[in-house]
């Protein structure tokens, strides 16, 4: 392995991040289907419907457009991997991806990556980082996701 000499810089500055609440999604799921795998317990949940409400974005979940493809690890924490499609109130399509962790202590946080039409009304969703916190019902079939933009 080649070594690297770190140059001296005067750029050890602390950058700030602020979160601004953007919208929330009430999502509805089929019961999880789970099976053991070498990586842990793979857990699939179909997203059957959902309603997204916010000041600048309103949409519905395109039924059965995906869902949760999570893995429950050996330490019982769920690696969250979600993909689905939304239809905005003006008819435009939007792709949504979640990557995060759902822990046994109630912590359910994720990053959402959103893709929309660059020439459409929701281009502002592209190249915006969203921080998500979620509340899950005890039967894990009703989840409300709250999205904040990381500014």
């Amino acid at each position: 392995m080649r070594d690297f000499v770190v140059p001296k810089t005067d750029t050890k500055v602390k950058g700030e991040v602020t979160l601004d609440y953007a919208f929330q999604l009430q999502a509805h799921y089929d019961p999880p289907v789970a099976h053991a795998s070498p990586k842990g317990t793979f857990r699939y949940q179909d997203i059957t419907s959902g309603e997204l409400r916010g000041e600048h974005f309103n949409a519905t979940v395109y039924p059965d457009s995906g869902g949760q493809y999570d893995t429950v690890r050996g330490d019982r924490i769920r690696d969250v991997d979600a993909h689905f499609i939304l239809k905005a109130d003006n008819g435009e399509w939007v792709y949504m991806e979640h990557v995060g962790y759902r822990r046994t202590d109630g912590y359910y946080r994720a990053i959402a990556y959103v893709e929309a039409d660059t020439k459409g009304a929701y281009d502002w969703l592209n190249n915006t980082t969203f921080v998500v916190t979620a509340k899950e019902s005890p039967d894990e079939r009703q989840v409300t996701f709250y999205y904040y933009t990381a500014n």
Partner: protein, 189 residues
């Protein structure tokens, strides 16, 4: 160490007293783990006008200065960029160390998508997969770029394993002469 007694120090003390084996069967809860490694950094909480919306907290975890080396473009169907990582430093409240020299690169398409390694001051190798967004705002003047990163870490079991169950968001600041980026990593609480 800031902590009066960490879990690691406790385990070391118990192990050296010859009773470490009795602890092996004890179930460790995530909450206890978080307390053992908790940080004294202040938490900034963000909420919404509607009090029903749960607040989200951010706490500075550490920072990384990353120096880049080669820049290559491959004209594949959707062009693939390659920007190699030379090395760098990691500093801050919850992690110190260096960027493992020449341990990876940004293999970007439209947005950055970086794979490389940190080496903590205790020698642990921590893998980082970092995705990010960059957006240019022309107004208000002066125009500015909002550059944010969202890493997923793979850390070994032990003192750094909290990184395997924590969501992070980072502020990124590009610098020139020499070409490097300063990442400020926040734990999402």
């Amino acid at each position: 160490m800031n902590e009066p007694i960490s879990r690691r120090a406790l385990l070391t003390a118990v192990a050296s007293a010859g009773v470490g084996a009795s602890l092996a069967g004890v179930t460790r809860s995530v909450e206890a783990e978080e307390t053992a490694h908790s940080s004294r950094e202040p938490v900034s909480y963000f909420g919404a006008p509607d009090a029903q919306v749960p607040k989200v907290g951010l706490r500075w975890a550490f920072s990384a200065t990353v120096f880049f080396a080669d820049r290559i473009m491959i004209n594949s169907p959707t062009p693939r960029g390659y920007t190699s990582v030379g090395g760098g430093e990691i500093w801050g409240p919850r992690l110190q160390g260096r960027v493992l020299p020449h341990s990876g690169a940004d293999y970007f398409k439209t947005t950055f998508n970086t794979y490389y390694c940190f080496q903590a001051s205790d020698g642990a190798i921590i893998f980082i997969h970092n995705r990010g967004t960059m957006r240019r705002f022309e107004t208000p003047e002066p125009a500015h770029v909002r550059f944010r990163a969202t890493p997923v870490f793979t850390a070994p079991s032990g003192p750094h394993e909290w990184m395997n169950r924590t969501v992070f968001v980072a502020h990124c600041q590009r610098q020139s002469n020499p070409d490097h980026t300063v990442f400020t990593y926040y734990e999402v609480l």
